[in-house]
Symmetry: C2
Subunit: 161 residues, 2 copies
């Protein structure tokens, strides 16, 4: 394959990674990147068991558990006991947690918009098309139907207390 193409993607990659990082840095006052990643998973996939959450984040269950502790302390997430399987713990977003995710995404949009605003409309279209193609090849879910599930901000089913 031609190296030039990869070079172009690699360059843009650095840009976007930087944008994402910045959108968080200035973001939620005291929400860390790790915590934000967890919020995003919960927002996009809905309430998750601890194990699945850990797997989605690619961290050890103990890490996911303690991260959940902190999010709960900040009222960004909740812990529920699974009723089918009483071993399991289900973590879900609170309204506050959802808001943090929404705001961060909004900030990122602004940063990207600032970059695109420098270009004529025709080039913006070309970029949209190319980026869509790329994301599709990578098997990513397109933004306009993201998050995949509305992710109801409630426990999976009636939980006693």
């Amino acid at each position: 394959m031609e190296g030039t193409v990869i070079d172009a993607v690699l360059t843009a990659s650095r840009t976007l990674v930087a944008v994402s990082t910045r959108s968080l840095g200035a973001a939620a006052e005291h929400t860390t990147i790790a915590q934000y990643r967890m919020l995003v998973v919960l927002a996009s996939r809905g309430p998750q068991r601890m194990v699945d959450l850990a797997a989605a984040l690619d961290v050890a269950p103990s890490t996911a558990g303690r991260m959940t502790d902190r999010l709960v302390r900040k009222k960004l997430a909740r812990r529920h006991r699974g009723r089918n399987d009483r071993r399991s713990v289900v973590v879900s977003l609170t309204a506050d947690g959802r808001q943090v995710v929404d705001e961060a995404t909004a900030r990122r949009r602004v940063l990207i918009e600032d970059i695109l605003a420098k270009l004529p409309s025709a080039q913006q279209q070309a970029i949209a098309s190319a980026f869509e193609t790329f994301a599709a090849a990578a098997g990513e879910v397109p933004e306009h139907l993201w998050p995949p599930t509305p992710a109801a901000d409630v426990p999976p089913a009636g939980v006693p207390a």
Copy 2:
């Protein structure tokens, strides 16, 4: 501005952030992401004063200092005393440090190549063009002339010991 364009970029952004993360996870055995970021800055900008390094990474000087401690312990970086300004400390890469950066970049190239390989050549060209335009608008240095300076792996000038 049209939301669709931003959506496309945002989607591709998630893809690339994931790729970058993965290229490190499997990467240097015990080099963390933070350490890797520092190595990249040193590789791309050459030896840096502690203050500038901290600014480039957007962390506090104390963090940069302690991160440098760890990199030095692993023989990936060196500490020098500035001779013009004896307050300053200059950090530079060792050959080992440079190698870590090169290997991570190579891994990332492979991941991106895997994605692009699914597309016909024409689309690859379109992607290259669009990504270049985007990166240029963001003011990023293109990959084919990166790192900007050869970043000589030596102290800025004759340092006594």
